[in-house]
Subunit: 399 residues, 2 copies
């Protein structure tokens, strides 16, 4: 049982996956904006999508295609979300899947379509067509694809883990983009995972859901959930391992969790305008569900985020966010820690050296821990600080 | 049936109410920080409080006192929230009520206590005692009290309406403070209403709840609900009108709604760092409850708020916030308006002059209207734009 991170690993680190990205002209000149991820071999696949009631056309199409559970290609663009575009939008998404299906010689139903960008503008299909034609696939182009899906991200998010367990040796890799409109559920905008492990279809679906619940569904940047969120996994069995299922899948699940937590954490750390990542650990809540609710509320509080930004150890805001979550608590049992320094015990403020604490949280990773001491519920959420820069980014006249 | 706004009206505009404020030294030098509102005559009274699970000591005490329904004095301070302060905090709140009860010669149960300020610090009782002793009441000191309860508010919020109906002539006045940590429910931090009308106790309670649901519970500044929210009304019957009850109370309700909407709107407009007020009108939702949910979600979206701040008519973010609310909708029936200009109809983007629209929303009151065209549910919410200044205010090292 070994799990090891591959240096500079990405979504094409697993065997049999190719990627490519081009400048189709959908975004702006000099910017990769359209990409494809493709498995040379047939796949078992699963995906989760935004819970927003307004779903972009590519999401509606991909939700239909993923039902077959054998998607082996993803086409993705930035610069246009193809959301709120009605029938024209559905035709554009379908035509995009057709173009990719022809290019790769696979059935249309095996193509997922993902888009990110401005809502309410139509997809420039001539550019998309040109981009798909021009695009070249290569086994080492995962990094290029990770760059192409970036929007206001400041850096690509990619990882791959090499796993060895009783079923054999295999690799899980992934890329993601985030930045704004990030909130449970689904927290991510786009995330594509690939593995060369052979995985049983039903187990893959459940393992993905579990991994996402503890990672992408526990990050928040700004409380907004997008119309275009999509996270998928394709497994092509190129590693020739014994098929992974509920019986022997423990290590696979652990590795998948790690991939998702890494990518989700990277999204939180790279939230629009963020200068710090905030990790919120909740212990001793009445249940895991309540612990998750509390963790998200604290990580999502504008006042907590602003205080952390300014190195202000104003823990009262943490307790206020906890109380607002609606979860059961007993005030006189509460404990609160900032960077492992206790600031509240038995529901009462402790004497603290505020200047020192302010210096302690003047760092790029801030830990908040709350112990409720009434049960066994645990959870961790990730968020980022709220900076003036977030507002500047999002108030630019860009639409 | 006449309702008329009184010029420079405030909480002491109704007959028989006195107020006062002093510099007790709880906040900082040169700053009024402690005040009292008092009715010379016995009162019928009602109040609503924060839904935050963590409640400040004065809230817990006031919730107990309001059960008698005859509070006739409120003591309020800024600079210290007396929240997360355990037994010591409860003793401080009780002692404060005692001091006021002695000063005014009324039973302790007729005193409500309200505090606002930093969470997790103990009330400096010597200063409070000194302040209460020094404080002088006057019938024209409503403005002074409105100023004393300000925290990061940039201006006091006060209003009074002169009403004439079948029951007689009477006045309703009120003051409020808001600025940050503003979110349903309860949206306000502190709001004190007074009327010289004679009002039946049970009707007063219901009328207050109704007025608050359509006003303070429909504003949002930053999604955070405070530990110290309190809104109260005292009616002393000094106007010698016929007792108002459910049968003859329609005009009273209308006037009370107007007072609450004015004060709630003022809080939204004066949100921390706000440069604009945003009014969100929802029509044609499946129900009023769903309409309210949608309205709050849009008014509370960081991305919508940032776009409005930058005069960016990026209405896609409005639709995304609508979809995130979880309320039922049919995308192809949606209509969206910005300052009365249709930007989306039948779920599709309309051709629009973006530069003109950007100029249109470059004003201090921005109207967003969404028609769902599937039912009769209506609601209005108020919020404000999100500016760099919000972050600056809240990241200052102040605790």
């Amino acid at each position: 049982m070994k799990i090891k991170e591959i240096k500079l690993g990405t979504v094409t680190s697993p065997h049999g996956f190719m990627a490519g990205a081009v400048e189709a002209g959908i975004k702006y000149e000099g910017r990769l904006d359209t990409g494809i991820l493709f498995s040379e071999k047939p796949c078992v696949s699963a995906a989760v999508f935004t819970n927003n009631r307004v779903k972009a056309a590519p999401i509606i199409l991909s939700m239909k295609h993923i039902q077959y559970g054998n998607a082996r290609a993803i086409v993705v663009n930035s610069g246009c979300a193809n959301a709120c575009t009605g029938d024209i939008g559905m035709r554009s998404a379908t035509e995009t899947a057709e173009l990719v299906s022809e290019k790769l010689g696979i059935p249309q139903e095996q193509v997922l379509v993902a888009s990110t960008g401005v809502i309410g503008t139509h997809m420039p299909m001539e550019k998309m067509k040109y981009g798909i034609q021009k695009l070249k696939l290569a086994a080492d182009s995962g990094h290029k694809l990770a760059a192409a899906i970036m929007t206001t991200d400041t850096r690509p998010k990619e990882i791959a883990l090499r796993v060895e367990d009783t079923t054999g040796k295999y690799t899980i890799g992934g890329i993601a983009k985030g930045a704004g409109m990030i909130h449970p559920d689904m927290a991510t905008l786009l995330c594509f995972l690939a593995t060369d492990a052979l995985v049983e279809k039903d187990f893959l679906r459940k393992a993905l859901k579990k991994a996402v619940d503890g990672s992408f569904n526990m990050i928040t940047v700004d409380g907004d959930t997008s119309t275009n969120d999509m996270l998928s996994i394709m497994s092509n069995g190129a590693a020739a391992n014994i098929e992974i299922n509920a019986g022997n899948g423990k290590t696979f699940q652990t590795a998948l969790n790690r991939v998702c937590q890494y990518l989700a954490g990277s999204i939180a750390a790279d939230g629009e305008g963020a200068t710090k990542i905030i990790q919120v650990d909740i212990e001793g809540a009445r249940s895991m569900i309540e612990a998750r609710k509390i963790a998200r509320n604290i990580a999502g509080s504008s006042l907590v985020k602003s205080a952390i930004h300014g190195n202000d150890p104003n823990w009262g805001r943490i307790v206020a966010a906890l109380g607002r979550s609606g979860a059961y608590m007993q005030e006189n049992k509460l404990e609160v820690y900032l960077q492992d320094v206790a600031v509240m015990k038995n529901g009462l403020p402790l004497t603290m050296d505020k200047n020192r604490l302010s210096r302690d949280i003047n760092t790029d990773k801030v830990f908040i821990k709350v112990c409720l001491n009434i049960g066994k519920g645990k959870a961790t959420a990730w968020g980022c600080d709220l900076s003036e820069e977030y507002v500047t980014i999002n108030s630019d006249y860009t639409s």
